[in-house]
């Protein structure tokens, strides 16, 4: 349903008609998506919309009840999970953490990855001493270590201050050009990721709407739609006030006459 991508891009992973229930409660209903190389797909939606679940199903961490999951054979994946907490009783430096899954410790590779995301000064520190923003970058450095073809980021902006947020998304996008990875991301910071997102998929148990916003810089006429998406600042609203539950349905209700890029 998200057809129309440039044909030079490779499909890295694909979900088809995914369904999942927890008892009576519908978690996901008929969710289909494709992730392409060198392309950013951002999942947005209210809390409890099943965004993280979609990522976990795509990663093979959770099995769907219906539908199929396809990943390119031999696909290298980098993952930044939504929740990360390291027990204080586990002494672990940032350097060790980044290289934890290397079969042999490779200080040079760890340093390269840390330099890429700008955390090389943190390498000797304990993981538990990191601030929220530092932790997200360190998680990103670990995800990049394996030279991933697909980056799966679950709210990479959490705990990052406003100025840092913009830097972080720019970094993810800049490194995309270097590594050529595809990105599947859950984000609440829509106003920030919009310019760097190739597709947006709005999820609320099912896919409410999906679109392919062009990069703002290259297509000035798209600024209009970007402007229209400003109310998607509502997504930031749920982020900062996530104890409020008065929001229902899709948080990016594109008016029908402005859905230039909408498919399906």
């Amino acid at each position: 349903m998200l057809a129309g991508m440039s044909t030079t891009q490779t499909v890295l992973a694909k979900l088809s008609h995914i369904g999942l229930n927890f008892g009576e409660r519908v978690i996901l209903h008929d969710v289909s998506l494709e992730v392409y190389s060198e392309s950013v797909l951002t999942l947005i939606g209210p809390n409890g919309a099943g965004k993280s679940t979609v990522l976990k199903i795509l990663l093979g961490l959770q099995a769907p009840e219906r539908g199929t999951v396809w990943r390119m054979p031999g696909l290298r994946v980098g993952y930044v999970p939504q929740k990360f907490h390291l027990d204080r009783l586990l002494p672990l430096t940032v350097a060790r953490f980044i290289g934890l899954n290397l079969p042999r410790h490779n200080a040079a590779a760890v340093r390269d990855s840390a330099v890429e995301v700008g955390v090389e000064d943190l390498l000797p520190q304990a993981v538990q001493s990191l601030s929220g923003g530092e932790l997200q970058r360190v998680l990103l450095a670990r995800a990049l270590l394996n030279k991933p073809q697909l980056l799966v980021l679950d709210e990479p902006g959490q705990g990052v201050d406003v100025t840092g947020l913009s830097d972080l998304y720019q970094l993810i996008n800049r490194l995309k050009l270097v590594h050529g990875y595809g990105v599947l991301m859950v984000s609440h910071d829509l106003h920030l990721v919009m310019a760097a997102t190739d597709q947006v998929l709005c999820l609320n148990q099912h896919i409410c709407c999906s679109g392919q916003p062009e990069a703002v810089s290259r297509h000035p006429e798209y600024l209009r739609l970007f402007g229209d998406l400003r109310p998607a600042g509502l997504a930031v609203y749920t982020h900062h006030h996530d104890h409020q539950h008065d929001m229902h349905g899709c948080i990016v209700p594109l008016p029908a006459d402005k859905q230039e890029a909408k498919h399906g």
Binding site: G60, D87, R88, P91, T93, N101, N146, V152
Partner: protein, 262 residues
């Protein structure tokens, strides 16, 4: 030195070697309850061994392995409410074992020896078994160290990066089951978890890396073993609890030091 003291020391050393290596992961993964459930279940193995007249060690190992697998299943099905269920399994096995022991005709069972250990009654075959298992534990732990550490840090991240989380978890739990079966002689089923937890927690203060922490946990375990046995021989106190008291004192002393690393 008397022969029985040397035997006790040999068995004790093998046990603290195992408990140090295994205990740190129990701490990091917040699985102390797991140690309790397993060690409590061991008493059911003792009862079954006495009832059937077969090898106690084998029965204890069998029961611990079955319980470990059961717990692994429970852990991967959170809907079952793991803490509660594990507590029920462990205490039921402990109670059932105790009740079963009292019904045995013609067998005089020293229940205290199983509950609090009887390291001074260790036999030569116990030593052979304990050291054999200790070598297995050390070997497997070295083998699975990296993936086990990785999944202890973050299981999903490890799985995405290719760690066979289920298999490594199962291997680790089986090692604890084996350790419980032989450590029962040293500190008994009630205090066994203390031997896994206290040396590891004591070592945290000194360690900068996970490996250092495991190594220091073994060292602390050896110190507690020696101090506890010394205490026991001097004051005629029960040996198992004396070892645990020594470990606790070491833990308290260590809290006076500033924390290194993290």
């Amino acid at each position: 030195m008397d022969d029985f003291i040397i035997r006790a020391l040999l068995a004790g050393l093998a046990v603290v070697l195992m408990s140090g290596l295994l205990g740190v992961f129990l701490l990091w993964r917040r699985m102390a309850y797991f140690g309790d459930t397993l060690s409590h279940s061991a008493l059911l193995g003792v009862a079954l061994g006495l009832v059937t007249g077969m090898s106690l060690n084998l029965w204890v190992i069998a029961v611990c392995v079955v319980v470990a697998l059961l717990m692994l299943y429970v852990q991967h099905n959170p809907a079952l409410g793991s803490d509660t269920l594990l507590s029920i399994i462990g205490h039921s096995a402990l109670a059932l074992g105790t009740v079963a022991l009292t019904f045995l005709p013609n067998v005089r069972v020293d229940l205290m020896a199983y509950l609090f250990g009887d390291i001074l009654a260790v036999t030569h075959s116990d030593i052979v078994l304990t050291w054999s298992l200790a070598l297995v534990v050390v070997g497997v732990m070295v083998w699975i160290w990296r993936p086990l550490l990785s999944l202890s840090v973050h299981a999903e991240l490890a799985q995405v990066e290719g760690v066979k989380v289920w298999r490594i978890s199962a291997a680790y739990m089986l090692l604890i089951a084996l350790m419980v079966a032989v450590a029962m002689k040293v500190v008994g089923v009630l205090l066994l978890t203390a031997l896994l937890i206290i040396p590891a927690a004591t070592a945290r203060r000194l360690a900068r890396t996970p490996e250092q922490m495991a190594l220091f946990a073994v060292v602390v375990g050896v110190c507690a073993l020696l101090a506890g046995m010394g205490l026991s021989l001097q004051l005629d106190t029960p040996t198992g609890p004396s070892i645990v008291v020594s470990a606790s004192i070491l833990f308290l002393l260590m809290q006076l030091l500033p924390q290194r690393g993290a």
